[in-house]
Symmetry: C2
Subunit: 124 residues, 2 copies
Amino acid sequence: MKRVPRISENEWEIMRVIWSRGACSANQLIDALRHRDRSWHPKTAKTYLTRLVNKRALEFRKDGRAYVYSALVTEQQCVDAASESFLERVFGGSLRPMLAHFVEHKKLSASEIRELKQLLEEEE
Amino acid sequence: MKRVPRISENEWEIMRVIWSRGACSANQLIDALRHRDRSWHPKTAKTYLTRLVNKRALEFRKDGRAYVYSALVTEQQCVDAASESFLERVFGGSLRPMLAHFVEHKKLSASEIRELKQLLEEEE
DNA sequence: ATACGTGAATTACATTCGTAATCTATCCCG
DNA sequence: CGGGATAGATTACGAATGTAATTCACGTAT
């Protein structure tokens, strides 16, 4: 299990863009971020890019003037780590109560319920 | 929906003790913490108590020399907030993928699977 | 060549967090 | 009464985070 660097709350936003769009330049990044949330300040986004490169979550290749950033860690790895940490911290590591919490609190659509039951069947 | 203060990773340990045991003194707290993890340093625990009081997650009443700390926010409130934040951050708010992740990644026992299916039935 | 725009590099700065140590007030014991 | 134990209060201090501004370097348009 590869150790992934710790990704902070806002850094996740950056990573999710890169995971979904693949490698991209700082500007493409910023555009994508601002598309969904105008409050992202370009300078701030740049700072996160640099930090993510420093913590080896991203790398970049020069492409003329601009850099192209790409992920060094997969979404899967980070999701795993964050999920584990969340489960541990908030539910003391107990899976069942955690799942129960979500099933009970978030109203699931009939189809979502069906899908989940399907998943559970497969696990059996 | 009451706004709960942001509880940090380690602060969660403190809160969980107080939620489970109810109000208790600093020393009872520390004993409980160290019971499960000897590496808890008493001074560090005291620091967290103070911080949690400052951020209005705990309050205390004087009981002779010592203080008795009790929760100002419920576990339910904090679990809700943390869960929402986690879901948003890591899964972009999509519940189904999140649940699927856990169901697929953590090996569930047969009985857990049965319980969950039971829960889902009730939601239907 | 020269100033301007643009991207990256460097610097800034308050907060929060992790991790305690030190200071101070008090109580009990001898 | 005086000194140690003990509980809370204050102080410490670096790393991480959120949030940018400033500076530097280079290519391009006058």
